[in-house]
């Protein structure tokens, strides 16, 4: 079934290998969500019109405008404490319970219940669709979104069509009452709960934690609102966008009222009205789908954004004229139909494009501003206006005149927007404000394309490269004409980007213009050129690549090798034989460097019995770049015999990053070996320090367990690196589990160390000799380090963001910030943790804190001599050295004896200090 779907859909949608399961599940999810909404929507409309009155609709519009914001705010608050899949499933369960309650209330047949039902369904629509897209955004990254969201949107439209038809079928043919449609929704919603859980689990199993949502602070929405108003004032483009969107909402609400009023007058019976609405919404979705699939892209390519945003107002204007000429059901269907068919197809795409030249941050804030403020305000204003119209006793035709007046204003704004869009787009290109990676749709409307083509003629190569990047996804064949001259551009980057864009647009006739690039000095350009020729020539790709690989021209053969490594299929990679490798590997000197470099990359993809031999040869290459590529290839091929070599090379600064990535590429297979090296005290400390960072690149439960076990065993400096690795894993992979009991016990050990150091520090007061100052400074620094480690440990158990904020607050110099952080921790930590931690951060006095330490751990030091003794016997080498350095000052026989015992300490710094101190004492 999956294969069948892939074969019929794969051609139309760019869903890639490995993405199908998640994509189809997400498709099923949005499909079911829209089915439920389109079951509820006709029921909502018909029940309200029959049981209440169309004249009450304006009041409902106003109430919806008022209650949506609090509901969405409540939802966001709930969202801050829960993981996304849990939030969605909890919301769905709440919605199911809501439906059951509503169904029970409908039995009572009070008019207020229908108000409630209408409002509830409206909020339901906003909530379920927006949480689906929130979920989709966390499941897919920006590049996937660009390809897959179109397919998911199709799922939504099919859901809407089916929902409408199912409604008609159930009510008109099976005689189920409108009220009982609600039970069907419950069934469909229950399936979405299963789907969301399965999707989340698959994503976790793929090792890709869905991207976390950014937390918003409480004041952010107010701040965003004020900032948005300020930003709006300064931008004509933004003001025009908001004006257009406001007019759209206003007109849509009035048209909806007119439509429902006329429909109710024509079909007053409830069980005829429901199938009518079901049918109407179905055909509206079909029209919207047809409009989107058949016309939107064509219109956009021909008329650009400026034309696209005029379609809806002009369509509505024609609908309005029809209503004036022949008022009735037909005119109402045309008016509301043109709104529905165009608003979610060409008009929506056009409006999305209006946002393109807007900086990403402004765009995000603007969308929040529009959803929360503009949309609700103008829906409310529409309700108020309708109430006024009803009060003035205006007929439906007279209301149409009001609508037409608004549409006229809308058209004028859209015409001004047309000009402004081109100017803003041009400026955005010049300032490179649009992030191609963030674009969630392809740029192929006429106006944007024209601006991009104009940018290709710029004298600034950064502008050209930027425009080329934006054009990468465009499939407009005619575009190759302005691209081709860039193949001769003086900049390598421009030539390379032009080749990338041309790869999608070119054909065999362009080969003659690409061929000269085979002589280019840059191997990337030569490699891309060979790829173009191989893929667009009428000859067999593999034969052509073989021909180039065997070329007597070294530049061509090396580029062919690079091309096969980067773009070759498994069959083409077989062309890289031992003979090819040996020939290139055998050439020495700077002039043969690029060949060896390509061989080093090829080692990451080829199959050869002599792979280890080649790797060994290239690891001894004189070029650091060749060595780096060889290291990367070891990881790609997971050649185990080189693991010890890679670990040892972690202490080498130049190859460290490559070794780290290469080791991480082995995944869990290398964890045991890494752990053995980490805990082997005979090995170089510099090398061991880098191992936790490698392990942090292997997100697996075993990594957590091994690092946590090592944490207890290691000295403080290594413990810090282990903790950093654990923190990194915790932040990036929240699905991994940490043993809370073990962490608590480590936190308590760390607090004990803190209290000990604090007591020793207190005994140092009053001395200003250099050795005493050094010891005091070192003890204070140790306390800071202890505190940081305590918070790092707590970050493994509690939400890391919260703990990090609390840490910043605790170490802040501002009293109020510190007090807030302490208050926050007081609420967050469990009772046992609080007992140990709060005295450390509470600002009573160091004496109080030290006393707390004594009480908690029954650990008491009475003199400076005892303190030094404790440090000299302790595990921290630096504090030991500082303490020994202070011994001559104290003049204690006990300490001198202790120092004498350390003459053969394993640490050279300790031995050296002991010698110095004993000499001082003797003299």
């Amino acid at each position: 079934m999956k294969r069948f779907l892939k074969s019929i859909l794969g051609g139309s949608f760019d869903v890639r290998k490995g993405e199908w399961t998640l994509t189809l599940l997400m498709f099923a999810n949005i499909y079911l969500i829209l089915v439920t909404y389109y079951l509820l929507k006709p029921a909502r409309d018909s029940l309200f019109l029959v049981k209440v009155s169309p004249l009450e609709l304006p009041i409902v519009f106003i109430i919806i405008a008022l209650v949506t914001v609090p509901v969405i705010t409540l939802y966001s608050k709930l969202g801050r404490t829960l993981k996304l899949h849990k939030l969605i499933n909890l919301t769905t369960v709440i919605l199911i319970i809501n439906i059951l309650i509503l169904r029970w209330l409908i039995e009572r047949d009070d008019p207020w219940i229908y108000y409630l039902f209408y409002i509830w369904v409206s909020i339901y629509g906003v909530l379920v669709t927006s949480q689906f897209w929130l979920f989709a955004n966390s499941i897919f990254d920006a590049a996937q979104a660009k390809r897959i969201f179109v397919f998911l949107a199709l799922g939504g439209i099919i859901g809407a069509i089916t929902g409408g038809q199912v409604t008609k079928l159930i009510v008109a043919y099976f005689g189920v009452s409108t009220e009982n449609l609600l039970f069907f929704c419950i069934g469909f919603l229950a399936i979405t709960i299963v789907l969301v859980s399965v999707i989340w689990e698959i994503r976790i199993q793929q090792g890709k934690e869905p991207s976390p949502r950014k937390k918003k602070s409480g004041g952010e929405s107010k701040e965003s609102f004020a900032m948005m108003v300020g930003t709006l004032k300064g931008s004509k483009h933004l003001k025009l966008i908001v004006s257009i969107l406001a007019t759209t909402v206003l007109v849509a609400a009035i048209v909806d009222y007119q439509f429902k009023f006329i429909v109710f007058e024509s079909i007053p019976e409830k069980d005829k009205l429901t199938p009518f609405f079901g049918d109407f919404y179905t055909w509206l979705s079909v029209a919207s789908l047809g409009m989107q699939g058949l016309f939107t892209n064509r219109f956009l390519r021909k008329l650009g954004v400026g034309g696209a945003i005029l379609f809806l107002p002009i369509g509505l204007l024609l609908g309005g004229v029809t209503m004036v000429i022949m008022p009735g059901l037909v005119a109402a269907v045309i008016l509301r139909g043109s709104d529905g068919a165009m608003r979610y197809s060409i008009d929506k795409t056009g409006k999305e494009l209006l946002f393109m030249p807007v900086p990403l941050e402004v765009k995000k804030r603007l969308k929040v501003f529009i959803d929360i403020f503009v949309d609700r305000l103008f829906r409310g204003i529409a309700g108020g206006l309708l109430l006024l119209c009803i009060y003035l006793n205006l007929s439906i035709v007279q209301i149409t005149y009001v609508v037409m007046a608004f549409i006229a204003v809308w058209i004028v704004i859209a015409l001004i927007m047309r000009k402004e869009y081109v100017n803003t787009f041009r400026r955005a290109l010049e300032e490179r404000r649009i992030d191609p990676a963030e674009l969630r749709f392809n740029v192929d409307d006429a106006q944007s394309l024209n601006a991009l083509i104009a940018a290709l003629g710029s004298t600034n190569e950064k502008h050209i490269n930027y425009a080329l990047t934006m054009l990468t996804s465009v499939r407009e064949k005619g575009l190759k004409w302005p691209i081709k001259p860039l193949l001769q551009h003086k900049s390598d980057e421009v030539k390379l980007n032009a080749l990338i864009v041309l790869q999608n647009l070119g054909d065999e006739s362009d080969i003659a213009e690409v061929e000269p690039l085979l002589k280019d000095e840059n191997i990337d350009i030569r490699s891309r050129a060979i790829n173009f020729i191989a893929r667009h020539s009428n000859r067999n790709d593999k034969d052509l690549l073989k021909e180039h690989l065997e070329s007597p021209d070294k530049n061509v053969s090396e580029a062919a090798l690079a091309c096969i490594v980067e773009f070759g299929s498994p069959q083409e990679i077989e062309l890289i034989t031992d003979a090819v490798i040996e020939e290139m590997i055998g050439q020495h000197g700077q002039e043969a460097l690029s060949g060896r470099l390509e061989v080093a990359k090829a080692l990451g993809v080829i199959e050869s019995a002599d792979l280890s031999k080649y790797i060994r040869t290239l690891l001894n290459d004189s070029s650091a770049a060749v060595v780096a590529e060889t290291i990367n290839s070891i990881g790609r091929q997971q050649v185990r015999e080189f693991v010890p070599w890679l670990i040892n090379k972690l202490s080498d600064r130049d190859s460290r990053v490559h070794c780290r990535n290469s080791l991480a590429a082995f995944g869990t297979k290398v964890l045991g070996t890494l752990n053995d090296y980490l805990n082997d005290e005979k090995l170089s400390t510099t090398m061991r320090k880098h191992i936790p960072r490698v392990m942090a690149e292997i997100p697996h439960q075993d990594t957590i367990n091994l690092l946590t076990n090592s944490l207890e065993a290691q000295s403080s400096w290594l413990a810090y690196d282990i903790l950093k690795a654990l923190n990194r894993l915790r932040i990036n992979h929240s699905n991994l589990k940490f043993n809370e009991r073990e962490i608590d016990s480590t936190v308590i050990n760390e607090t004990r160390s803190f209290y000990e150091v604090l007591q020793i520090l207190q005994l140092q007061n009053g001395h200003d000799k250099p050795e005493c100052v050094l010891l005091k400074n070192s003890l204070e620094e140790r306390l800071d380090a202890n505190l940081e480690q305590i918070f790092r440990l707590m970050g493994l158990r509690y939400p890391p963001d919260d703990i990090y904020s609390a840490y910043l607050g605790v170490v802040s110099k501002q009293r109020k910030v510190r007090a807030n952080a302490i208050e926050f921790l007081d609420n967050l930590l469990n009772a046992n943790m609080k007992r140990y931690i709060l005295p450390i951060i509470d600002e009573v006095s160091p004496d109080f804190t030290a006393q707390k330490g004594r009480d908690l751990f029954r650990f008491e030091l009475d003199s400076e001599e005892e303190g030094l003794c404790c440090l000299i016997k302790g595990p921290n080498v630096w504090l030991k050295v500082c303490a020994i350095y202070n011994v001559p000052r104290i003049k204690s026989d006990k300490l001198v004896d202790l120092v004498k015992d350390m003459q053969n300490d394993k640490d050279p710094m300790v031995r050296e200090t002991v010698k110095l101190v004993l000499e001082k004492i003797e003299s």
């Binding site: 600064r653 510099t686 050795e771 070192s778 620094e781 500082c882």
Partner: protein, 148 residues
């Protein structure tokens, strides 16, 4: 010969290392080399390439610009500090006035150390940022977090 701990005691007082934790100064101590100079020795001249920082252990060093002495470095004073951070040539000539013992930190070794030891780097950056903030405060420009 000074031990590591003695060098750390001295390095603590060098302004640019004041924010580096004492434990981390042991790494700096390990690259700090003791040199003896005789009165009249020229350590470096104006416009020479800057290659090291010096700290006077004992003795005196005169710093001259355009032949005029602008400063005298005595025990525990450092000079040539900025040589560790940029490629500008020396702006003064340093001449030993009284037989002196100096601690020298070579620039290349210092850069290697920074690359390997993030806590030393953080300490040095903290101090430099403190200085920038101090200058901005003096100029009346409030420091912001933005790149501008």
């Amino acid at each position: 010969m000074l031990t590591v701990v003695e060098k750390v005691v001295l390095l603590q007082n060098v302004d640019v290392f004041s924010e580096v934790p004492a434990e981390q100064l042991t790494y700096l101590a390990s690259i700090a080399e003791e040199i003896d100079c005789l009165a009249g020795d020229v350590i470096f001249r104006e416009n020479d390439p800057a290659d090291a920082l010096y700290l006077v252990l004992d003795g005196k060093v005169g710093l001259k610009r355009d032949g005029k002495e602008i400063k005298q470095a005595g025990s525990q004073n450092a000079f040539g500090t900025w040589a560790l951070f940029d490629d500008e040539t020396r702006v003064v000539t340093a001449t030993v006035k009284e037989n002196a013992r100096l601690l020298k930190i070579d620039r290349e070794e210092f850069v290697d150390l920074l690359a390997d030891n993030v806590q030393v780097t953080q300490g040095v950056l903290k101090m430099l940022v403190k200085r920038v903030r101090g200058i901005m405060d003096k100029l009346g420009t409030p420091p912001t977090d933005s790149a501008s």
